[in-house]
Symmetry: C2
Subunit: 382 residues, 2 copies
Amino acid sequence: MAAQINRRSSTIWRARVRQSIKTGTDRVTIAQVAREAGVSKTSVSRYLGGEFDALSVRLREQIGKTIARLGYQPSQMARGLKGGRTRLIGMLVADILNPYSVAVLHGAEAACQKHGYTLMLCNTGNDEAREKQSLAALHSYSVEGLLFNTQGRNVTPLHELGQAAFPVVLLDRHVEGCDFDLVGLDNVKAAQLATRHLLAQGYTDIALVVQSLYGVSSRQGRQAGFLQAMSERRDCHGQTLEVDVEQPGHVATVLREFFLRRARSGGRVALLAGNGMVSLQIALALQSMKLSFPDDVGLLCFDELAWSPLVGSGISTIEQPTYEIGFTAIERLLVRIQGERSVRMEMLLDGRLISRGSTAAVTAQEGRACSARLAAKLGVTG
Amino acid sequence: MAAQINRRSSTIWRARVRQSIKTGTDRVTIAQVAREAGVSKTSVSRYLGGEFDALSVRLREQIGKTIARLGYQPSQMARGLKGGRTRLIGMLVADILNPYSVAVLHGAEAACQKHGYTLMLCNTGNDEAREKQSLAALHSYSVEGLLFNTQGRNVTPLHELGQAAFPVVLLDRHVEGCDFDLVGLDNVKAAQLATRHLLAQGYTDIALVVQSLYGVSSRQGRQAGFLQAMSERRDCHGQTLEVDVEQPGHVATVLREFFLRRARSGGRVALLAGNGMVSLQIALALQSMKLSFPDDVGLLCFDELAWSPLVGSGISTIEQPTYEIGFTAIERLLVRIQGERSVRMEMLLDGRLISRGSTAAVTAQEGRACSARLAAKLGVTG
DNA sequence: CTGTTAGCGCCTTCAT
DNA sequence: ATGAAGGCGCTAACAG
């Protein structure tokens, strides 16, 4: 209303109106900068693009000052619309509650910041439908590339991306029939390292405890390494236990069955936890069964967690270089975005063994005593 | 090349060509949809905007089918450019390594997904400079609002947002002189709850262990509640210990000094950890000093963590409703974005006490024995 | 070196 | 009920 009275300065008037309508900060545009600096939009655009050799010193200074004075920031949405460079990277995380995902995210975010990209994050909660719709959402913002930690099942949308030659880097798990780059742990090697450590410490009856193997290549890789290492020792027994960590009490049930089967063998029993989620559930299950490590059972876990040193006499772990995985994945993705078309590449980083009390060495004699005790405890408590 | 032979389907051919040129997924545009459906862009736009009552049934069907057939998805960048509704929300996290942040993030992401928004995430690592530049980055993408977990120092950029009436919801910590909404824990009440629990269990010499109080309102609130509750018991002693969790060994040093000061008093010593980061450092420090809880010292921690039940006989905690905090914060932000202009509001949720072994009850007599043991242990190990 | 012109994909008056 | 035209902020030919 006031505006109707005073129309001298249409600029100010517009600004006022916008504020009252839109509430938003009044965006300074490239046009304003150009006008105030007395140059063309193109020159300003060149300045933004860093094409300084195509700009006289005078213009460059002029523009620089004006930008600073006005506090101008180019709109990425507008730049993206025209040039396609949105400087946006989408990250799809299978489960944000998994500490592994967060740790990788940390590295990825750091790499993005380093290279002037911004991360759009979607948590799919291991759900196909949400994975699909998150993909659509990210696509609608024209992300330049995708960091993808897939749930592994029904991956047709991923295949479509592959056909479109869209830049994608897979995290941790790969997908059959897709030729995307992958960054993750060298699972086979790490599992061998883990298994051999357990064997060397004197454990003879080992169970690899994992979540559903179906569709998750990293878990399959760990299993492969585990079985391979076990096969080197015919006198020892190894088996895989699939558990559902969502289902309360399931881990305890499965473990109890395993213990009952093996305890009487007189061997020394150990558990190899397939990831951090499983570790936690195992620790809780053992606690509920009043079993302790390494006294009753050996324990080695994939994923180093903050609390690994704290529980009991410490839990031995295979530490993944999570930060590096995230960081590397982004940098690889950037290379792809910049047009690299070479053949698919897997970047597998090595895990590191951190040995603690939970895998203390045992002699055969001690082992027999342990397994006897284990059997006794189960008999009593079960 | 195959395309040159078969030109029946120009659609397919185009797709091929673009692929080889642009490498990118072929964006279907509103224009293509309009053309193929034999209508105007305006009509398609109306369809997208849900203005069905301004569309004949025939057109509506036509358009719907075409959109489905082409797999058309409107570009949010383009929509945002014109209308300002980018459906983007920025989230600034002070420290992504803090489990609290991740838990809140989880709730926030879920709320965003529910309302069709996408989250742009920036980790500031408690650094002013990064906070500032992340803010700029998010601004350049025209986020509609901001979820802000600030580091608390040098918050001028935040004040600028305030002046611009930009929608912001603060998480956990508020900022002086800013009238932004806040969602977080009722820290005073929670700290009282915690302190009274310790007192009720027979602890008499209590230290609140926190990271730097400076500029972090939530920590100040916890301190206030702590001191208030302590003041109700003149026979007990309470003090605040500020620690630097980044500096190795610092927590242990500070704790040792505190123990030495108090152990000889004959009182029962307990620690109240100000957050999850501190909890971890305390647990590690105690372990390094060969002290255990509740035998040598009582322990109660802010933030329920996955491993809280597992360490020793379990660590008692004050659990924050983190998921709800994140979820609520987004919904409040959405209300602001939709234009709500009412007065500033603080939404403070209640914490919940989870009592475990680390705060087991002690009688005065036991207490004396404990503090004697503590003194002895420190004398020996120190 | 610099500016003019023409869109990017979408929404929004304004006619019809 | 439908469409044509213009513009959001920016970049990218194409002239000078």
